[in-house]
């Protein structure tokens, strides 16, 4: 009896809690606070934060592996996050299903009306690769313990695209997955703070006041055929990007084709919501003290900020360069939307544009590079998976 009482005491968190776990529970609660109070990408950061709290409760066994006896009979069941992480994140299923849902929510109309803006989406990916160099420097100089695969996974934070970052990190650097996902979603939430100073520094007021030509109307047929064209190009040129872009285009095709509305509706609602809850809990399960409380995490957070900044700058500068060669003027602010972070970055471009000229509505023009940035970072992800894996 006293024995049992002692057992019960030994089972409590008070007895078992290690400092690292305590700190990580606080980190989880901080994410929950940021999600609820500051509106930091709450759909992901709230489940991630709670996932971090739960996985760090000592003795709760949320990441416990199931135990089987020799005949395959279950002796002790695994924890919830064990099943979620190994079933949906390690396998890559959840990020791909989220990407399908995002595809079903994306309207490529503004991009199809002005395909040139794809160049802005390409330029902004420079943030990804500049960050890779940064991480590689830190690794080569011995300051931090980053391999090439780690560097690639860290770089993808600059893609400003959550599911892409999680997909790449789960394949190239599973240990860094937690920090990378937290950095990606946090900076996406911080886009309205990170981007405007850079955008203002690199442009004159005249440039920011440029009014762009009205977008041409886009037909339903173009919208239907476009995802098929992308899929074929991916199949031809970069199969390693096919899981991401194939599912994205599948979702978009369901949206645009008009004959499977009930599937498109489910992909955008019930399915993506269910997967988002699980993805968050699964990502949170990687926020253990061993994986998170080290110098590398600081490096990742720092490099992620650099990645967003360089991506923003590269997009703006590319727009300015295009203005030299093109007849139709491009407001360089929409270049910043090329980092993706849909639709936040486009709204930032619109807002900064309105500051310079109250009649200048850039929102739709910025949506072009914005969705182009999603394609751009998925392509970058494909190159990385092929280059680092091959």
């Amino acid at each position: 009896m006293e024995n049992k009482l002692l057992n019960l005491y030994h089972d409590t968190g008070i007895y078992q809690l290690e400092l690292g776990q305590f700190v990580m529970i606080c980190v989880g609660l901080l994410l929950v606070f940021l999600a609820i109070k500051k509106g930091f990408e709450p759909l992901l950061l709230l489940p991630i934060g709670i996932g971090a709290v739960l996985v760090n409760i000592p003795g709760a066994g949320f990441m416990a592996a199931p135990v089987y006896d020799a005949t395959g009979h279950m002796v002790s069941p695994g924890g919830l996050q064990y099943y979620i992480y190994h079933g949906g994140i390690e396998t890559g299923l959840f990020p791909l299903l989220i990407f399908m849902g995002v595809g079903a929510m994306t309207d490529f109309g503004p991009m199809l009306a002005n395909p040139k803006t794809l160049l802005l989406g390409a330029a902004a990916q420079f943030g990804i690769f500049a960050t890779v160099i940064g991480a590689v420097f830190l690794g080569a100089s011995g300051i931090m313990d980053f391999s090439l695969a780690d560097a690639a996974a860290i770089g993808i934070i600059g893609g400003a695209d959550g599911p892409t970052a999680i997909f790449v990190a789960s394949r190239l650097a599973p240990d860094l997955l937690g920090a990378i996902a937290v950095a990606a979603y946090s900076y996406m939430a911080l886009v309205p703070l990170i981007q405007p100073p850079i955008m203002r520094a690199l442009t004159t007021k005249e440039e920011r006041s440029i009014k762009m030509e009205q977008l041409r109307p886009v037909t339903k047929k173009e919208k239907i055929v476009f995802p098929i064209v992308v899929t074929i190009l991916v199949a031809m040129f970069l199969p390693s990007a096919a899981p991401l872009l194939g599912m994205f285009c599948f979702g978009n095709l369901m949206r645009e084709c008009g004959v499977v509305n009930r599937l498109s509706d489910t992909a955008q609602n019930a399915l993506i919501n269910i997967v988002t809850i699980f993805l968050g809990l699964g990502v949170g399960s990687k926020l253990s003290s061993e994986a998170f409380l080290n110098l590398e995490t600081l490096g990742i957070l720092g490099l992620g900020l650099v990645a967003f900044s360089i991506g923003t700058a590269a997009g703006v500068l590319m727009a300015k360069t295009m203005n030299r060669f093109s007849k139709e003027a491009i407001n360089p602010l929409i270049g910043a939307a090329g980092v993706s972070a849909v639709p936040m970055a486009a709204r930032v471009a619109n807002k900064v544009g309105l500051e310079a000229n109250k009649q200048n509505f850039l929102l739709m023009h910025a949506m072009g590079p914005n969705v182009a940035g999603v394609i751009g970072s998925a392509v970058a992800a494909g190159v990385m998976l092929s280059y680092v894996g091959g």
């Binding site: 109309g109 160099i133 080569a140 990385m384």
Partner: protein
């Protein structure tokens, strides 16, 4: 300067190269696609996105609904007569 750094630069050059290459190809493909489609099927353009109305009514559902509605009507008519 070691192999890691070299690999990193290689990844950057290849990566940015490939991103630009792919998106430039996509620009041309998109433009060609649009021109071809608008040439083959000149139509009244729409820019309004798929309205979310009727999102719940699928093919199957709609058919079932039609069937059921017709049935109910028939019965109601028959009750009156």
């Amino acid at each position: 300067m070691n192999g890691l750094l070299e690999d990193g630069f290689g990844l950057m050059v290849l990566g940015m190269g490939f991103v630009f290459l792919f998106l430039i190809i996509l620009i041309f493909a998109t433009k060609y696609m649009s021109r071809l489609l608008n040439y083959l099927f000149p139509e009244q353009p729409v820019v309004a996105p798929n309205s979310s109305k009727g999102l719940n009514s699928s093919g199957v559902d709609a058919q079932l609904t039609a069937v059921i509605t017709a049935a109910v009507h028939q019965h109601q008519k028959s009750k009156k007569s």
